[in-house]
Amino acid sequence: MGGLSLLCLILYTATSLVVSVRLIARSRRSHGVPELLMGLTYLLAPGLGYPLAVLAPALPGRELMLTALVIGEMLIVLGCSCFLLFNAKVFRPTAAWATIAASVGIAALVVGGIGVVRANMSTADFALAGERARGAMSLLLFTLGLGYAWTGIEGARYHRMLRRRLALGLAEPIVANRFLLWALAGLVSTTWNTITCYYLLTGANVMTHPVPLLATSLGGFVSAVLQVLIFMPPAWYARRVGRERSARALATA
């Protein structure tokens, strides 16, 4: 199970890094803030932060381990904060509640990140540190799960709207499909976050228990596949989406 988990983590990290580089490069050309925020999200959290935080306990020497953990947690908090800002800016640009929700989420992420680092700095015993970090980790995962649920709901809402626009020739099939994939990605991430959060709160070791391990592994794998289809869809996939839409339009006519 550990091998499968590591493989999925590597796949998710590699995909996130590729997607992040593409998005940041695109933001330099378009001067678009949304693609910069999403690029930074993928680069800082799954691209660099998660692997650093996961590998930190395996590093030789407490100093090195703590340094890697602090940097990893900082990157995760920064990356996830960019993700919450993306939600507010892209889906609810004029809604005050969205800005407030993103700000509260960022505050919760910072508190959770500090809690994890403090728990690990308080003792050299890795198991005890894990116990002490349980509450902070749960807060991090819960906040992130809410963020993913938010983005999933927005994706589903936009997919529904774009299907109506398609009937009037006001949208591209591939963009409508992208919102559907985005909603699925939100659902997948909410699921694995919720499962891991639940097991953390029940006192299980989420690094060894098969259920949260399987959930994060599958979640990472499916997320990586969805990232590819959303941000760099292969030509065959784009053609297929276009063909399906044309066939459906003909059937409706």
Binding site: P34, T94, V175
Partner: protein, 100 residues
């Protein structure tokens, strides 16, 4: 919530061109936008033009406007004068760019 420049201009003209009051005019346009999967805050001139051609006539009939054609023509004329500079881009534009 305030609508986009295109939406506000079309609402004002719909109120002038028909016997509908302000809220009935806004409601009729809002229903047309909902049927089309669009939102009042972000609808553009181009999108509203399509809605006026293909969805609004039906809504106007439901609202008791006997002849929708001259009303729609007036709305199209007004839309041609709307300045959209500075309008916030919608999520559709962002997602279109991000996967290109």
């Amino acid at each position: 919530m305030a609508g986009s420049a295109a939406f506000e201009a079309a609402c004002a003209e719909l109120e002038r061109a028909t016997s509908l009051d302000r809220w009935a005019a806004r409601g009729t346009l809002q229903l047309s936008l909902m049927d089309s999967g669009l939102e009042t805050a972000s609808v553009t001139v181009k999108q509203l033009g399509v809605v006026i051609d293909r969805v609004l006539p039906r809504q106007l009939q439901s609202a008791g406007v006997a002849d929708a054609s001259p009303v729609c023509a007036r709305l199209r004329d007004v839309l041609a004068t709307v300045d959209e500079r500075g309008a916030a881009e919608g999520a559709e534009a962002v997602f279109s760019r991000m996967g290109a």
